[in-house]
């Protein structure tokens, strides 16, 4: 069975946002909504600094908290492991937005919830998601986690360090962050770092 997953190599990512803009254009995401955005976090003090450049989007969780709370069943998981939305059944109640630990779902101005779906329409044509295809640092890998020879399986296997966002949420993300620059892993998985540096 196919189990789609993505990895982002944070040692290569420069946070340029090409993925985010490509996503916006490909999926006609309205201005003000983002299916994909960049968080660049600085930790440390001059001159001993670390900056983590981190794209964030829907993580297509193994155990997605957004799906069971949907009252109409319009949030669902495909056989390939993609968490998707059947927009025409969405009542815009916001339950899934509330449930998502990653702020990955947003309200479309036309009155439904929208988010990353790994560019399913492109996958059907045998193409990669728009973000993966355009990334100038080639930090993204995509493919079938059940296939040991897929790009994503190889990237995860070869990484020195593999992290997921907010593992304490028990969501089982299918988006893996590789080679996080900080010795302690992803910046926002550390409460005090987040609290001190997170003000924006």
């Amino acid at each position: 069975m196919t189990r789609y997953a993505m990895s982002i190599d944070l040692s290569a990512c420069v946070g340029c946002s090409a993925c985010s803009v490509a996503c916006t254009m490909e999926n006609d995401v309205p201005v003000g909504n983002h299916r994909l955005w960049i968080r660049n976090t600085t930790v440390g003090t001059f001159p001993n600094l670390t900056v983590e450049f981190r794209p964030e989007q829907c993580l297509h969780c193994e155990n997605p908290p957004c799906v069971p709370v949907c009252p109409t069943g319009c949030c669902y998981v495909t056989d390939d492991g993609i968490v998707d939305i059947d927009e025409h059944q969405c009542i815009a109640c916001g339950a899934c937005i509330a449930a998502c630990p990653y702020d990955a779902r947003s309200m479309h101005p036309d009155g439904y919830v929208t988010k990353c779906n790994f560019c399913r329409h492109r996958l059907e044509e045998g193409k990669l998601p728009a973000c993966v295809e355009t990334c100038p640092t080639l930090c993204r890998s995509f493919g079938d986690l059940d296939d040991p020879n897929s790009a994503v399986s190889i990237a995860i296997r070869e990484a020195d360090r593999v992290d997921v966002l907010r593992p304490e949420q028990g969501t089982g993300p299918n988006l893996y962050y590789l080679n996080a620059p900080s010795s302690f892993g992803l910046t926002s998985n550390i409460w005090d770092v987040k609290h001190e540096e997170g003000a924006h």
């Binding site: 960049i38 069943g73 059944q89 449930a99 630990p101 009155g111």
Partner: protein
């Protein structure tokens, strides 16, 4: 320093009309509960209660419709064409619709009273429980802790009992104080649970405290007040009504924050 290119949807997803929904649904669910008891006990004012229940449900659903970004899409029909028992909102929708139908027959005074009563047992409890449930299922938002499953029905009953008192329903006087005190007690437990819980909960407590802590305490104090206001029924009704609404609203509004970098 954090730089953003594009932003996650970390803004509030429920806005001020939602607070009205949470207030009206408490009244609607509570009133359905009252109608249920009245129906089962064949209370003389059961038809009036049923009518008020229907009115409150309609008012609540209207509020929901007005605030819904999907109001011109009419997709709410899917609530009743889907079977999603894990969704508190689906549970609530069925609770309200069941209460509506049962209340309608109670008002008509047709059909088997026990059946309508039984339906109202189910409908009203679902309608009372679901708001708290809809919040507490979001384990990612620590301010919405599990204890809300108890706190919300209780405060909901406080508001409807207070309303009954305002309309001089004799039975209400006996219930307002115990319900308010129980709400206040659970409210204190709620705060204590946050303040002494896991780090996320503590952070939630700090956030709740800094964004409305004093007001929350005022809300709790207002819930304790009826114990001292037995001689002035008007105040004994209004004060806990305000207290319960303040506590519920603050939890709904502030609890939308999740601690993920903002």
């Amino acid at each position: 320093m954090v730089e953003w290119y594009g932003l996650p949807w970390s803004q509030h997803f429920w806005h001020w009309p939602t607070l009205f929904h949470f207030a009206f649904v408490a009244l609607a669910g509570g009133m359905a509960f009252v109608t249920m008891v009245a129906t089962l006990r064949d209370h003389p004012r059961k038809r009036t209660y049923a009518l008020i229940t229907m009115g409150l449900i309609v008012l609540d659903l209207f509020t929901l419709w007005v605030e819904s970004p999907a109001r011109w899409r009419f997709t709410h029909v899917w609530l009743f064409l889907a079977f999603t028992p894990t969704s508190p909102i689906w549970i609530g929708a069925w609770g309200l619709i069941t209460s509506m139908v049962a209340s309608f027959f109670v008002w008509l005074d047709r059909g088997p009273r026990q059946v309508w009563g039984a339906l109202l047992v189910i409908g009203s409890s679902l309608a009372l429980v679901y708001p708290g449930l809809a919040l507490s299922v979001n384990v990612n938002r620590p301010i919405w802790s599990m204890i809300l499953i108890v706190l919300f029905p209780l405060t909901g009953m406080v508001t409807v009992t207070a309303l009954a008192m305002l309309f001089k329903q004799a039975w209400a006087k006996a219930f307002i104080t115990p319900l308010s005190l129980a709400s206040a007690g659970i409210g204190v437990l709620y705060l204590w649970g946050l303040a002494t819980g896991v780090p996320e909960a503590q952070q939630g407590f700090a956030y709740l405290w800094s964004h409305g802590g004093p007001l929350f305490l005022v809300g709790l104090a207002l819930l304790v007040a009826p114990a001292f206001l037995r001689r002035t029924p008007l105040l004994a009704a209004l004060v806990p009504f305000v207290g319960a609404t303040v506590v519920r609203s603050l939890i709904v509004e502030i609890g939308q924050h999740q601690f993920f970098g903002f």
